[in-house]
């Protein structure tokens, strides 16, 4: 088998099987199936070009993920130069009010999260700032460990833990806000 064919076979065997996890991540980052497909395609083309730089035996998913993250930043952050921001003040006030008056946490959990729609959760996730969204996706959707996520995003485990903690806090304030708008919980705090 020629070197080229060997490279091709290796790439197909090692890299292509991870397409689903990359596509899911791309979809959550771009919020658009066509953009997600383009991003995954770009990632694989780039990975193939730099296949000789991949250190065999190391975590290939993490390597592909880093290429995808760079491609995402290059391509999409140009269109949104400023990082996403969320105005949390109103939601935070409401959250504090229900936290203080809560008598039965299980009951409130059911009230808040039980009636949420798929669109609510998807929208909330998509509006998370990118660094938080990434770790929430990898932890809560893909089920990766902190150690794996740290390798994926190339930062210490402590940073992963902190981003996850903060990301979920932002997420839940948004979900509580949806619940209040749907009337599942009383938002007055009175």
């Amino acid at each position: 088998m020629s070197m080229d064919l060997q490279k091709n076979a290796e790439f197909e065997k090692e890299a292509v099987p991870h397409m689903d996890i990359l596509y899911n991540y791309a979809l959550r980052m771009t919020a658009n199936p066509d953009d997600a497909s383009d991003l995954v395609q770009e990632t694989y083309l780039k990975a193939f070009r730099f296949w000789d730089k991949y250190e065999k035996g190391t975590n290939i998913r993490a390597w592909l993920f880093r290429i995808m993250k760079n491609s995402f930043i290059n391509k999409y952050r140009k269109e949104a130069k400023e990082p996403a921001t969320v105005d949390y003040d109103d939601i935070q006030n409401f959250y504090n009010s229900i936290k203080a008056e809560s008598a039965d946490s299980n009951d409130l959990q059911r009230k808040i999260f039980g009636g949420l729609l798929e669109d609510d959760v998807t929208r909330a996730l998509e509006s998370l700032p990118e660094e938080f969204r990434t770790v929430v996706i990898l932890s809560d959707i893909e089920g990766l460990s902190y150690e794996e996520i740290a390798e994926f995003v190339d930062c210490p485990i402590g940073t992963v833990r902190s981003r996850l903690h903060r990301g979920r806090k932002i997420l839940r304030t948004m979900l509580i806000d949806y619940a209040r708008k749907h009337g599942f919980v009383d938002g007055s705090g009175d």
């Binding site: 080229d4 064919l5 490279k7 091709n8 076979a9 197909e12 292509v16 397409m19 689903d20 990359l22 596509y23 899911n24 959550r28 199936p33 497909s37 995954v40 395609q41 770009e42 694989y44 083309l45 780039k46 193939f48 070009r49 730099f50 730089k53 290429i67 760079n70 930043i73 290059n74 952050r77 140009k78 130069k81 936290k99 809560s102 946490s105 299980n106 409130l108 959990q109 808040i112 999260f113 949420l116 729609l117 798929e118 609510d120 959760v121 998807t122 996730l125 929430v136 932890s139 809560d140 959707i141 460990s145 902190y146 833990r161 996850l164 903690h165 979920r168 997420l171 839940r172 979900l175």
Partner: protein, 279 residues
């Protein structure tokens, strides 16, 4: 002896616990704290509820079937056949080969006819990590209004200062005879930054992408094509383009790699950039 933990510590351990990542030595202290603290129990229920909502509502989706085909096609067109396609010439043997050549020639002629008539603003190329490709694609973003300056200023010094505060290499803002400086923008990917300088005249643009050449040559995720690097070393210039009169000119200024793209012929582009035609 049991470790006593605060609500702040409990908050961190709750996240770890919900993710199944809690250090076992904190398991008992957390449970003990939760049994005493109503607010932390509430916190636990919110973390659990949030995680469960994401898992329940945000489903895993399989990549579209045609995506795999597209990717394998890309690999194939990158110059290498994919597995399972070995033998013959694209699977053709004997008398089919000249017939295939004739067919391919016909297709090429039709394609040539179509391509020579295509709209002028269609330079987008498949992303491949090459700084040439990126510059063509960014130029498309400029003319489509998707890449606009963060700082709009006609003063070169203002634009240079704005960009140099955000990148780690020297910025070039050449003065143009015909074209007015619109402003500058930058983008970043990890430790690589790109500066974008935009000029305009009568609805036409000259776009200059700038980046640290040392990083590109050093083998990061982006690269300078070998031909471009050889040309830069030989003559100080590299040119690419000639697609519906859209041209790219690349040159090095100290360690800054400048790549200008514009819808104009090569001589005119260089004349605008330097005031003198290229050698």
């Amino acid at each position: 002896m049991e470790i006593d933990i605060t609500c702040v510590e409990a908050s961190t351990y709750i996240s770890d616990s919900v993710d199944g990542q809690l250090d076992p030595k904190f398991d008992t202290p957390l449970k003990s704290h939760l049994s005493r603290c109503r607010l932390c129990r509430f916190e636990l229920s919110l973390v659990e509820g949030t995680k469960a909502s994401v898992r329940r509502h945000v489903r895993k989706i399989h990549a579209p079937h045609d995506l795999r085909r597209r990717i394998l096609g890309d690999i194939s067109s990158a110059g290498l056949p994919t597995t399972g396609r070995v033998g013959g010439m694209f699977g053709l043997t004997g008398w089919r080969i000249p017939l295939a050549f004739a067919g391919a020639l016909g297709i090429a002629l039709v394609a040539f006819t179509i391509l020579t008539k295509k709209a002028p603003h269609n330079h987008t190329r498949p992303f491949d990590g090459s700084v040439v490709t990126e510059s063509f694609n960014s130029f498309d973003e400029v003319i489509e209004g998707r890449l606009t300056p963060g700082l709009k200023s006609e003063k070169p010094e203002e634009v240079r200062t704005f960009l140099e505060k955000r990148v780690h290499f020297r910025i070039q803002v050449p003065s143009m005879k015909e074209f007015r400086l619109v402003g500058g923008q930058y983008s970043a990917a990890d430790d690589e930054t790109t500066a974008h300088v935009i000029y305009e005249h009568d609805g036409h643009f000259i776009y200059i992408s700038q980046t640290d050449a040392r990083k590109l040559v050093g083998g990061t995720t982006r690269f300078i094509p070998a031909a471009a690097l050889a040309e830069l070393r030989r003559s100080g210039w590299f040119f690419a383009g000639n697609i519906t009169d859209c041209n790219l000119a690349m040159w090095l200024a100290d360690s800054t790699l400048c790549t200008a793209v514009a819808d104009m012929n090569r001589d005119l582009l260089v004349a605008n950039l330097t005031g003198t035609p290229p050698r």
